[in-house]
Structure formats: C-alpha cells, structure tokens
Amino acid sequence: MPHWKNTAGDKPEKMPTPAVVTIPMSMHIGAPAKPVVKAGDEVKVGQLIAEAGGFVSSPIYSGVSGKVKKIDDMLNSAGQRVPAVTIETDGKQELFEGIAPPKVTNLQEFLDAVKNSGVVGLGGAGFPTAVKLTVKDLSMIEAVIINGAECEPFITSDTRTMIDDADLVWQGIELLQKYLKVKRVIIGIEDNKPQCIGNFRKMCKPGCGVEVSALPAIYPQGGEKVLIYHTIGRIVPEGKLPIDVGAIVINCTTLAAVAKYIQTGIPLYEKCVTVDGSAVKKPKNVIAPIGTPLKDVFEFCGGFSSEPKKVLYGGPMMGIAVPDLEQPILKNTNAILAFNEKDAELPKETACIRCGRCIAHCPLNLAPVNIETAFRLKDAASLDILKVNLCMECGCCAFVCPANRPLVQVNKLSKAMLRNYQNEQKALEEKQKAKEKAKKEGSK
C-alpha cells in the first residue's frame, strides 16, 4: 500500500479565522456535552462553551472569539441529529481571561485536569482521555504505548506533532510517569518517519524508562491491538480492553494536547489537520479552530483542482465520507481528504474467486471470506465462531479483494446481526428459566 505522506515536510499553517464555526456537542464517545452558553453570548478563544455530560464525556471550548448565533440540531456525517453551537466570529481572536495552568499535584488533580482539557482520543476514536487514564489499580499498568505509528496513507498531522511538538509529547510522558507511576513507556513509530524516531531516540536518556520502537511501515500498524502485539507481544482478547493485558495506548497528539493544557491552561480548541487528496490544489497541514466548515479549510488550501466527488474525515482506509462541505472540523479530525471523480468511483463487485487474499492480509487472522458467506446465509452462530467482533474494520481485506467485495460493510452488518442473535438467545434463555421456575413452583 502506498503511503502518500505528501505533506510530511509541511509545517502546519494557521488558517485565517472562519466567519462562522459550528461546534457539535458530540465529538467523542459517550454522552454529548451540555452547552453552558446561550444565543447572543459573547465568547472568547479558549472559553468553555459546553460542559461534560457525564463521566464518559468531555467539555468543549471555543476556538474563536465572537457571538453565539444559535444552539440548534445539526445533521452530522453519520446522519444523526446532534446539538451544535454556532458562533459568528469577530476576527479579534481575543484569548479568554480565565486561562491559567491548572493546579496538579496528585493523581486525582491530574485526571481532573485531563478531563477539563477537553482532550479525547485524537487518533480518530474520540474516546475521552481522562476515562482511559482512570485505572482501577495503577499496578495494572505495565506499559504505556505512545502511538506515533500514523499508518493511514496521506495523514501527517501526528508526524508534525512529533517533529514540532516533541517537547510537549515528552512532557506528557513525564506526567504519565509521575502520576500514573508508569515504569515502561514505548513510543511506537513506523520506520517511514526516521526524523521522529531520531528525535525521540535523542531524548531517551539511559534509565528514563522510555524506549522508541521503530515499527515496519505496514498498515494497520497503528491499530491499537496491532500496536500492542508488535510492541509488547500481548494479545488483547475479544471483548477486553488493552488495560486487561497491562497496556494503555495513547496517541502522541492526544498526549501533547494534555501536556499543553497542564503547562499553559490552553484547552483543546484547534486542530492540526492534513488536507490532501487528488482534488485539492495545494495539499498542506492546516491548524484550524474546531468547528471550522470543511469548505473554508479547502479554500485556504487553494480550493479544488477538480470537483470533489468524495470528501473524507480521516484517511482513505478507515475515514468517514461526509455528505457535504458544511461539516465542521471535529476534535478527532486529523485529516480531511478530497478526491476527484476518478478516485471516488466505486469499483464494481464481482464473484468471489476464493483467492484467500483477505485471509492472508487480515492483521487479526480473521477469514473475511468465510464471514461473508456466513452473513449471506444469516448464520449468526458461525459469525460468533469466526470472531467477527474482533474486526477493527481496518479495511485491508476490502483493499486487496480482486473481486471488490464490500467486506468491511459486511463485517459491520455481521456484528449487528451477531448482536441481535445474542440478545435473542439471552431472551430465550431467560424465558426458558422463567418457565422452569414456574413449573417447579407449580409442582410444589
């Protein structure tokens, strides 16, 4: 698979403030954030506009100064209606007065600071970082793996973090060592980024508890389970979390954002995104306030060289296609790609020739061809045996399939089918139990 890291050498450029930003309240896994501003309010850069809506949630800050225009539902890229705060900017970009480094002296204060920073998994998952770092028993953590693999084609925003903000990443590591008592830290970087590897190798002093692992640049090296397997050799069992095998994986940009907040009090309100793809005139890395409409970001990159027929959040392997260019930059957006007509063309599906390429290329040793057969036969029991739930939807199977079978789509649908089946089985079992109980009582 080609890497297309065209923008790796481009230092991120800050784009001019957009006229309007639309900030959805759901940019993370968990409960949506609750707005604390109302229409007509003046806001400044770095000001809280929404507080966390629960434990698994995250607060949201404004990246612009201006006036709140409305709080309304918007249709997101997944086709769901989510509340969003729309702010008309005034172009002044005044920093909020209340910004100050938080007081962090112990674990609880550290976790609170992480929560207040508004940082979520910036590698793409959007899982609230504070929740990930809240571990029942600190002794469970054997290793923290800093994910700098950045295996998706095109994307270079993590690369830029590791080059431009290596100090912040390092400070983040020291925070983890201090408060989470982490003994072993591994920075996992694909070997197509020698500059990043070199940077961190220089920073690692003997006995500092940090090591750099240069990983072969083979997609999906940055997949959580794949990374854990290739750095510490542990296998995360089905339905378990990395912490169950003693590991925490945290993206390098996520960690840098946490360190930035603790050092300066500046929360997460803008993102470095890689803008690339065949329809983009001048691909580059752009720093944009969260909520900036995609069209403004593309505009900043010289606009389109040809009509964009497919636009993605994220990379071409796992990215999400967006329906329109009004969609905003989200917390976990690390790239936006626009493709021309030729690249957006959907390949025609033909008969499976049972070549086994999907099996050979699955990083988790699944058999997509067999999962597809089971799915078409509506054989949910076999889907369980084939372990479809392990699938991380990395897309390798569909990428290599010479018959262009929609294998990722089938796996997604198979998971839903299996879930329904398991729920039905459970209900059936309970019914059976209730019946037996009734029988027993009847016979008494």
Partner: protein, 313 residues
Amino acid sequence: MSNMTVSVSPHIKDKTSTKSIMRDVIIALTPALIASVLIFGMRALLVTAVCVAFSVGSEWAFEKIVKKPNTIGDLSAAVTGALLAFNLPVGIPLWQAAFGSIVAIVVVKQLFGGLGQNFANPAITARIVMLLAFSSTMTTWVFPGLVSSATPDALSGATPLVILKGETSAALPSIRDMLLGVHGGCLGETSAIALVAGGIYLLVRRVISWHTPVAFIGTVFLFTLILGEQPVYQLLSGGLLLGAIFMATDYSTTPSTNWGRIIFGVGCGLITVLIRVWGNYPEGVSFSILLMNILTPYISKLTAKKPLGGAEV
C-alpha cells in the same frame, strides 16, 4: 455539493482484479504455448484455439440461457480452455477438444454456480472425462516433430512415463530433451523450462504462492527417490509441472491458507506417485488434484488461522 459519494471505508483499492489475475495466468502460459508450437507444430495452436473458443463460447451461451450476467470478460473461461488444451495430445480430434471444453465450463464450473463456486478443477475434470470417453485418442502420442510438420505423425510416441513403467522398449529421452520438452506427451506439459518460467512469473506477480507447487513437486521427488524410481525423470515427465504450477494453485478448488496449501501439495504428490508406480495408468497428476480438490474444504477448516484475541474455536 449534494452529488458527493458517501460510501463505507476503505476508499482506496489496490489494482489487482480478477481480470488482471487471469491475464497474468495467460501471460504465464504463453511460454509453454510457444514451446508446444515449436515442438508439436501449428496444430498445437489450433487445438488451444478450439478449446479457448469453446470454453469462452459455452460460458457466454450458458449465462445467456440462464439469464446470468455475462462474465467472459474476467478471462477465467479462457484460462480454463488453455489449461485443458495443454492437457490434450496434439493429435486429438477437434470435436473431442470442443466437447471437453463444454464439459469443463458447463458441467464442472457453471452448474455449480460459476466462478469461485466449483469444487473441482474444470480443466482437470474435463480431461479425466475425456480420458475415460476417448481413451484411444487421448493416449495416442505423436512423436515430437519440427515446426514444419503440420500433420501430426502418430507413428511413435511413448511418453517418458510409459517408458519408465517399462511398457515399451523405447529409450528415455535425454535430460536436455526433457527440459526443453522434446518428447512425447500432452501439448502443453512437456517443456519444463517454459512451465517453470511461467511459474516464476506468477510467483513474482504474487498470483500464486510457492507452497503448493513446492510441496507437490518436492513430495514426488522425495517419494520416488526413496522408491528408487528415477526422481529427476519423474519430476520432468507427464503433467507434474503443469499440474503443480497451474492447476493445483487454482483458487476456488484448493485451500486458501498456506498450511492448507502445503498439505494439499503433499497429498497431490503422494497420490501421483502411488498411481505412477503402482496404478494402472502411467500418469496420476490429474487424479491426484481432483481427489485433493474434494478434500479441500476439510483441509481449509483444519488449517484455519486462529484469530488474534479469539478464544478457542
């Protein structure tokens, strides 16, 4: 911007397609075709053309009749036709070659659901059908002639395997002739050099993996070495190279895991030697592949990879 495509990831795809794979197989078969024309004359080309034409034609006609989408563009029928032709003696009557092609495509492939659904190799199965139906013409070997000999000379033509079996007093051809293919046999199976060149091309293009051919050929070599049956001649004679490189690597009828491919190859090798040494037929490659085709689902099941993180299956 309402005309943007929204689809499920991944949004990129490598360039390999069914058609490109089949095109590679055809390219890999070309050296053997050229060799066969040089060894057996222009009739080799004629037989191949008839088989390809009838394979493609019967696929087209069958799909037309049962109102299925036309798939002759994927080139798989052309590959089947060429492989069948390579398994026929050059003097085969053309109507018999045409009949075999129709059996391969309609009976063995399409009646089971078409490409990817058949459990037996169409070319191999059709060859076996022809061997039983037309046993005389299927075992009439013409002596290798020159390019000029347009009319095959059917006077002599014991294959090396027949000679090895001691059923004739003819002398074995030299190793050089064995490598070049200047000896009796089916039209596409004799030139070891041409077949190996095609195999290397397929390996480089990653169309096939080394597992089955190496296991198959290696087993025949070792087994005949142990039995004292002239392993080098065994390796270069009959349809072994053609079968191991081009037929035992067919996707839908062989296992899709690497261990499965090794087991498949070893099984083919053992059965081939058993038939060659103790069987009634001088050649066993076709039968061995067909028998192993039947075992393929079980081998696949037995060698399924263990999912990373999955509990015991």
